[in-house]
C-alpha cells in the first residue's frame, strides 16, 4: 500500500460522477487538478494577506511581498537554480518562451543564423522561433525522430552547427511520451556556441529537474500542469544572460528610475515582471511545490512509471488500437497518444467521456508532428500522481466499449 493510493482524496474535483460514471481524469498533460492544500492556500492569501507587492509600506503589502518572494525561493530550490533571481515569474510556458524569443532572440538572431528545434515541439516552442526566423531571414531546422519515436541524436549532431545560435527543445513530448536527453543536447549546443532552452511544460510536474546539472541556459514551465492556479509559470535563466537581456514589457514594477527622457530598469528578475503580478498564483505554485516535495519527485516519477508499465501493454494488446511513440513502457512517460483504426479521435473521446474517462483529442498543438505521424489528430490519455490502476482499467474498458459501439474491426472501415 503506497501513499499514492490515498492521494485521490486530496483532490475534491475527482470526487464526482461524470455522465453517471466515476471520473477518471486523464487529461493531465492539458492541465492537472489542484489538491485541497493549494485551494486552501489561495483562500488564505485572499482572506488575510492580499495586497500588491513591492510597492507598499503597509503591513499587508509587506506580507504579500514576503510570500511572493518566498514562492520564488521555493521554485529556485525545486529546480536547483543557483540564485532566486534566476527565477522569473511568467504567465506560463508560452509566455516564458515568447519572452526569450522577443528579447534574446530579437537581439541575437541575424540573417543566415540557425535556430534548431525538434519536430516534436508544441506550437509554443515552434511558432515563436518560426516567426522570428521568417522576420530575421534566419533558418529554422528540425531535429527528426527515430523510427521508434525517440529524438534522433545523430540527426541532432548534424543539425546543430557553428551557425546555430539557439537550440530550443522540449524536455518531454506532449504527444509521444518521450523524455529527451536535455543534458546531451545542451552540451551539444554549447559546443557550437549556441544557447540551449528547455521547454519543461511536460517534464517539471513529473520528474526532478536540476537546471545546473542539465546546464540549460533557459528553462520554461507552467504552474497549472503541476497543480497550481492557471496563469502562473516560471522562466529560469542563467543570471548573466538575464542581466544582459532587455526587458520584455515596459510599465510599472519593472523600473528603477524614470524621468521624462529615460528609464533605468529594475534589476533581474524584476525587470521582466512588468505590471501587477499573479501573486496568488505564485503563492499557490509554492504550495504545489510543497505538496510535490512532500511526496518526493522521485516517488512521483516512480508511481507514474508503474502506471505506464501497467497500462501500456494493455493498450497495445487492443486490436486496431495504434499507440504512438515508443512501445516499450520503460521509454514511455505517462503521456499516451492513440487512435482506434477508422474512428476519428473526437468520436473516441466523446465515447470515453460517456464512460467517465476524460482524455484529450486533437492535434495537441503539434501539427507538424501530426503531419509527420501521418494523422490529423489523436486521442491522448495522460496520467498524474493521483491516478491509479482503477483509472487505467477504466480507460482500457472504455476503449473496448467504444470499439464495440462503433463496430471497429467487425465491419470494414471506410
Amino acid at each position: 500500500m503506497s501513499k499514492f493510493d490515498d492521494l485521490r482524496a486530496d483532490f475534491p474535483i475527482l470526487d464526482q460522477k461524470v455522465n453517471g460514471e466515476r471520473l477518471a481524469y486523464l487529461d493531465n498533460a492539458a492541465t492537472a487538478q489542484r489538491p485541497q492544500p493549494v485551494l486552501d492556500e489561495l483562500i488564505r492569501f485572499y482572506q488575510n494577506d492580499n495586497a500588491n507587492v513591492h510597492r507598499g509600506v503597509h503591513t499587508l503589502a509587506n506580507r504579500a511581498t514576503r510570500e511572493y518572494e518566498a514562492a520564488r525561493r521555493k521554485v529556485q530550490h525545486f529546480i536547483n537554480a543557483k540564485e532566486a533571481e534566476e527565477v522569473v515569474f511568467t504567465k506560463g510556458t508560452t509566455d516564458g518562451l515568447n519572452l526569450i524569443c522577443s528579447t534574446y532572440g530579437e537581439e541575437h538572431i541575424h540573417a543566415g543564423d540557425e535556430i534548431v528545434v525538434s519536430i516534436a515541439e508544441h506550437h509554443s516552442n515552434l511558432v515563436p522561433w518560426q516567426q522570428l526566423a521568417i522576420k530575421k531571414h534566419a533558418v529554422l531546422k528540425y531535429i527528426e525522430l527515430t523510427a521508434d519515436g525517440e529524438l534522433d541524436m545523430e540527426d541532432a549532431k548534424n543539425k546543430i552547427t557553428d551557425k546555430t545560435k539557439i537550440v530550443s527543445v522540449t524536455h518531454a513530448s506532449n504527444v509521444l511520451g518521450i523524455i529527451t536527453p536535455l543534458k546531451e543536447l545542451a552540451a551539444l549546443a554549447h559546443e557550437h556556441g549556441a544557447i540551449f532552452i528547455g521547454d519543461g511544460a511536460q517534464a517539471a510536474p513529473h520528474t526532478k529537474v536540476d537546471v545546473q546539472d542539465l546546464d540549460v541556459d533557459f528553462y520554461a514551465f507552467s504552474g497549472h500542469k503541476m497543480m497550481s492556479p492557471m496563469g502562473i509559470g516560471v522562466l529560469y535563466g542563467k543570471r548573466q544572460l538575464l542581466d544582459e537581456m532587455t526587458p520584455y514589457q515596459y510599465g510599472g514594477e519593472m523600473i528603477s528610475d524614470v524621468t521624462r527622457e529615460r528609464t533605468i530598469f529594475a534589476e533581474t528578475p524584476y525587470k521582466f515582471e512588468a505590471g501587477t503580478q499573479n501573486v496568488a498564483g505564485a503563492i499557490g505554485l509554492g504550495k504545489a511545490i510543497d505538496y510535490l516535495e512532500g511526496l518526493g519527485m522521485d516517488r512521483v516519477q516512480e508511481h507514474e512509471q508503474k502506471l505506464v508499465d501497467y497500462v501500456l501493454p494493455k493498450l497495445e494488446a487492443i486490436d486496431h488500437l495504434q499507440v504512438y511513440g515508443p512501445q516499450d513502457p520503460a521509454k514511455h512517460s505517462g503521456v499516451i497518444a492513440f487512435n482506434l483504426e477508422g474512428l476519428h479521435p473526437h468520436d473516441l473521446a466523446t465515447a470515453l467521456d460517456m464512460d467517465g474517462v476524460a482524455v484529450r483529442a486533437g492535434h495537441h498543438c503539434a501539427e507538424p508532428l501530426m503531419q509527420d505521424l501521418g494523422v490529423t489528430a489523436t486521442a491522448r490519455a495522460s496520467f498524474y500522481l493521483y491516478n491509479n490502476r482503477e483509472d487505467a482499467d477504466q480507460l482500457v474498458d472504455a476503449i473496448k466499449d467504444a470499439k464495440e459501439f462503433f463496430k471497429i474491426g467487425t465491419v470494414k472501415a471506410k
Partner: protein, 158 residues
Amino acid sequence: MALSKLNNLYRAVILDAAQNPHHKGEIKGATNKMTLHNPTCGDTVNLQLKVDSGGKIADVGFTGDGCTISQASASMMSDAVLGKSREEALEMAKIFSDEAIGKKHSADELAKLGDAQALTSIMQFPARIKCATLSWWALTRALEKDGSDDSASSQTKE
C-alpha cells in the same frame, strides 16, 4: 452502460452517412468554393457548389477529413441543399446554426432540413457542436462570397 447515451448522438442514420457519405468528392464547374478548418481538432471541410444561372444549387460536393459527426453533417447538408435556391439554402444554414446555439425553431421549419435535422441532436454534446456546424458555415460563406474561392478557420461560436 453509459455508452447507450451515445445512441442519442450517433443514430444509425448518422453513422451510415459518415461511413457512406453522399457527394464526397470534387465536382465539375464549381462556381462557389469554401474551405473551413476547425482548428481545435483539425477537421477540414472543402465545399464546392455549382450555382446555375437561375440561382439554384445544381451540384454540390465536398472533400476533407474529419470525425463521424463532421463527415455525416457534410453529407446530410449536401443532400439537403441540392436543388434548392441560394436563398433557401442560406435559410436552412441559418436554421441549423441557430439550433446549434440554442435558438429553437418550429417543427415546420426544422422539417426544411430534411434528414439533416437528425444532427440537431448534437445539442446534447456541447463539445461536438462545431463538428456538425462546420459544413453549414462553409455553405453560408460559400454562398455569401459569390463565386470566390477562399479559405478560413472557423471561429468559436458557443
